[in-house]
Amino acid sequence: MLDDTIAAVGTAPGEAGIGIIRLSGKRSQDILGQIFRGKKAKDVNEMPSRYMSYGFIYDEEGKKIDEVLAVIMRAPYSYTGEDVVEIHCHGGVISIRKIMELVLKKGARLAEAGEFTKRGFLNGRIDLAQSEAVIDIITAKTDEGLENAVNQLQGELSLKVKEVMDKLMSMLAHIEASIDFPEHDIEEVTSENLKSQGNEALGILKELQDTYYEGKIQREGLSTAIIGRPNVGKSSLLNLLLRENRAIVTDIPGTTRDIIEEYLNVKGVLIKLIDTAGLRETEDVVEKIGVEKTKEALNRADLVIFIVDASKKLTEEDMAIASMIKQKKVIVAANKIDAGIEADLEALGEIFDGHNIIKMSVKDKKGIDLLEEAIYNTAYSGNVKSKSSAVVSNIRHKSLIDKAVDSIEKAMEAIDEGIPVDLISVDIKDAWRYLGEITGDTVEEDIITEIFSRFCIGK
């Protein structure tokens, strides 16, 4: 428990100049070594303690993520008394998220609330008077954790996770029963059988990974298409949004703070505009890129901003677009209200959620705040339509699901290599345990219960 390496973002969430990712534990330095290449310090082992080193963080494909300052505080001279690493990267969501995901992938575990402090205390770095506070943090964390657990448990996510766990459990019970009761006429565990069940489990988990919604927004931005018939004010809206919400991202080679025109930052939500390249030159996207391409773009969109001219009656073209996008998450921007409202907005309200019809005037800069509010709410309510109704929104859950996927994939490889079932069960059990950390279940007793309920065994 005290032996693993923990990681957390040390700075407050939101827009800031820099962000700090902090690691503590034996493997901190090793993890830094795997992702950081210093300008001067080529080898992290040679980095002096408590000195900033300038360099870059690279992902697994060798792609530069960010330009950073890294510092190693070697045990026992650190806050926790263990090896501590801090990575100072650019602020803003993308860079921090990417680095955080990378360190978790390299073997760090997401720290629990108060865990750095707890370690500090247990390693003698914090005095006794503060230890009471540590217990309070732990206790508070439990209460909060319980509340979260209850909420999560009722959710679709836990249903999906349970579904996968049931599949894994059925594989395990079958393997274990055949091992513990070899002479009972239990149907033989075949590799085909295991593979098909394993692949089903993988399928569901991969869908869940795709729904890692918040993370996906943070990483890639909320894919957004702005659409509407000609002359309703698409480009003026875009220009207005861009003027007010220039996104600063560091997600490009060189990692300088470039302004990327395809990206918007709306109240901290990163918006990635899809195929809007020609949008500002010509009003008619559909004409320019073709209907098929537009449909394709719409398919990829998490969010569609549908602009209509509120001052005129809705046209057939408007209705055609509406029917094309009615399956998507849509915010209707009813523009030009400065010129009066003639459009039958109620009819649109019947197609789309009435709350998402924003009356505005780009010309007068009216209603732009409401539009931003609607975008923000869409991003964080998690109700963007995705393939699965279960949504992974928590980085801890995401990282557990990732580990489960890795374990199952390892098991599948092992099956192909002809590794005996006992060893295959090791990875399946690991996968189950990771998922069990989401639902709070433990494996051993469950397997035994499952064996006896599924198989008729006895002397």
Binding site: L128, I138, T142
Partner: protein, 628 residues
């Protein structure tokens, strides 16, 4: 019992109550460790009696036997001397779950164990029934028998099996009785209650025995022993016996109909059996009720011994009335004319809650009082023997003023068994299964000696002969692994030919034999074809080398997990911690921790109701204590 009936009958260091599989190992451990030991039994002809199945070993159970053997116990050697068939199970399912299972001559098993006990220095044996345990100031001081003999002792080990207030149930007939027609033990339950133990009722059962000459074996499938005969004990050089076969047949629709038509007469369903029975050995009637879709169930006919025609009917455990039992037996293929010699029965008995025990199997509130075997809620000969040897070792160490001997979950199945019982408790007779061991990849039967013989030697139970053999084996294995790492081969003609022969990928440059052996298709034995310097390892040593190299990745991963696990096991919790005073613990954790009093943080974390947050609080509390 009036004082006038009592007489002083002598003094022993340790008295072991009961001479079944637990009692025998306990008594041998104590006496071999130099203590004057008395072992009692209600009937001296029932020493190490196999009251149920005529076999020893199997998955997980076989690992227990090898661990007992590695520590210097008797079960493995006794099995090797009396087996009449041996098989290796799970040969293709992975190195950690390979398991030996021997069919044993029951009578000879019991006789030889008695002979070993009789010949053991410091060990005394008496046929008598202990009815009372004497204590002074919370310490054991002696026992009293039903004939009024009072023996004084410094420690007592209760290994009473299913004898305590045993009740036999066959259909609507029920009577007080021990196993296999023996007397039950009547007095000791009261004594234990008076000492503050909560007694519970568990249930087990055994199938019928039939006359072999009334069985038509030609209608069944013969199950012979393995050609390659293996031994349980690391000390046994070779097994060379003429093996007996078992036979496989099946129940059918007629059998099931007989059972269904008479189910109302089963005490399990009428309430005649009060105890909780094990899930893993359900009676045939339970199987029919719980799995109504199954058209047939396997039945194994197994010999009870060499000098008897009696056969054990595995799969037909039952407490249905005798007439129904005969009908259902005769409905089975091959048993049409069978003669039942002993009727199947269920037995109810008293046992304690093992959560009242420490990891040493000593009572938490009576010093010097140890418990082992079915009295602790376990089931099975191997599980009993494993607890017996551990209770024996710990009683002996205590009297010698030495540190207790505890095996943890990463060191042995014995550790898993005792930790499960003591920490988690059990609601049914507990059977060892490989699924219970989180570190089973390292708890293999092939390496039981490498894991435990040093420890057995250190406590003084392992003989010099066994110890020297272990040291030699260990060195041979280590040297050979080192040699394979250093020896490199290059893609010369002979090697290329070899690789083609085994459908293995070509090598471009030099590769160590160690790396080569990691390939699934390459076996250690086959390396001899390209390596003239192979030392002549014994088959056991060769197996060990092969497993350690081939499965290195998996084993290393498990060893890392074990390292983590040990960190928490090494954080000791003292007996006198007042959990109610610790701020931040949940109320459930306070209650459970106060009751169970775990001896370390790891054990605490396995108690149901103790959350990871509670463990964090305990860690902080320990640190606070240390600094004050």
């Amino acid at each position: 019992m009036g004082d006038n009936m009592e007489y002083y009958a002598g003094e022993y260091d340790v008295i072991v109550i009961g001479a079944g599989h637990a009692g025998c190992e306990a008594a041998l451990a104590c006496s071999r460790m130099g203590l004057k030991t008395l072992v009692t039994a209600i009937n001296l002809d029932s020493i190490a009696m196999m009251a149920c199945n005529p076999s020893i070993g199997g998955p997980a159970k076989g690992n227990l036997v090898r661990e007992i053997d590695a520590l210097g116990g008797e079960m493995g050697i006794n099995t090797d001397h009396t087996m009449i068939q041996i098989r290796t199970l799970n040969t293709k399912k992975g190195p950690a779950v390979r398991a030996f299972r021997a069919q044993v001559d029951k009578k000879r098993y019991s006789e030889r164990m008695k002979w070993v006990l009789e010949n053991q220095e410091n060990l005394y044996m008496k046929q008598t029934e202990v009815v009372d345990i004497l204590t002074e100031e919370g310490k054991v001081t002696g026992v009293i028998t039903n004939l009024g003999a009072r023996y004084s002792c410094k420690a007592a080990i209760v290994a009473t099996g299913v004898y305590l207030n045993g009740k036999i149930v066959i259909g609507d007939v029920s009577y007080e009785g021990g196993p296999n027609g023996l007397f039950p033990a009547k007095g000791l339950s009261e004594s234990l209650k008076k000492l503050g133990f909560e007694l519970r009722r568990f249930k087990t059962g055994t199938p019928a025995r039939i006359d072999g000459k009334s069985v038509d074996f030609s209608k069944m499938m013969e199950q012979p022993g393995d050609e390659n005969m293996k031994a349980f004990s690391f000390m046994t050089k070779e097994i060379n016996i003429k093996q007996n076969s078992c036979y496989l047949t099946y129940t059918n629709e007629t059998t099931h109909k007989i059972i269904r038509d008479n189910i109302h007469r089963s005490p399990l369903f009428t309430g005649g059996v009060e105890g909780v029975g094990p899930r893993y050995c359900p009676s045939i009637e339970t199987k029919i009720v719980n799995f109504p879709d199954r058209e047939s169930h396997q039945i194994f006919i197994e010999p009870e011994g060499i000098n008897t025609r009696e056969m054990y009917v595995q799969g037909m455990s039952s407490s249905l009335p005798e007439d129904v039992q005969i009908d259902m037996l005769r409905s089975i293929k091959g048993l049409e004319n069978c003669e039942m010699m002993r009727t199947a029965y269920a037995i109810d008995y008293d046992c304690i809650n093992p959560q009242d025990l420490k990891l040493t199997l000593e009572s938490k509130h009576i010093e010097g009082l140890y418990f082992a075997g079915q009295i602790n809620g376990s089931s099975g000969y191997e599980e009993a023997a494993a607890q017996g040897i551990m209770a024996g070792i710990n009683a002996a160490l205590k009297l010698k003023g030495k540190e207790p001997f505890i095996l943890d979950r990463s060191e042995a199945y014995i550790g898993v068994l005792i930790d499960d019982l003591v920490t988690k408790g059990t609601n049914e007779p507990y059977r060892m299964m490989t699924s219970r061991a989180e570190y089973r990849l390292v708890l293999r039967q092939d390496n039981a000696d490498l894991r435990l013989t040093q420890k057995g030697y250190d406590v003084g139970l392992v003989t010099e002969e066994r110890y020297n053999a272990f040291i030699k084996k260990k060195e041979n294995i280590e040297n050979e692994i080192e040699r394979l790492k250093c020896k490199s081969i290059s893609p010369v003609d002979k090697v290329i030919e070899y690789l083609r022969k085994y459908n293995s990928a070509d090598i471009k440059s030099g590769v160590s034999l160690y790396e080569l052996l990691k390939r699934p298709e390459i076996t250690y034995a086959s390396l001899a074809e390209i390596d003239e310097e192979m030392p002549g390892l014994s088959p056991d040593e060769a197996e060990e080398v092969e497993i350690l190299i081939k499965y290195e990745g998996y084993i290393k991963k498990q060893l890392t997990q074990i390292e983590q696990f040990k960190k928490l096991e090494n954080r000791k919790l003292h007996d006198d911690i007042e959990y109610n005073q610790i701020k931040g613990l949940s109320s459930e954790a306070r209650q459970k921790l106060s009751e169970i009093r775990p001896s370390n943080i790891g054990q605490a974390s396995r108690i149901s109701g103790v959350s990871p947050a509670d463990i964090s609080v305990l860690l902080v509390y320990l640190e606070q204590l240390r600094r004050r």
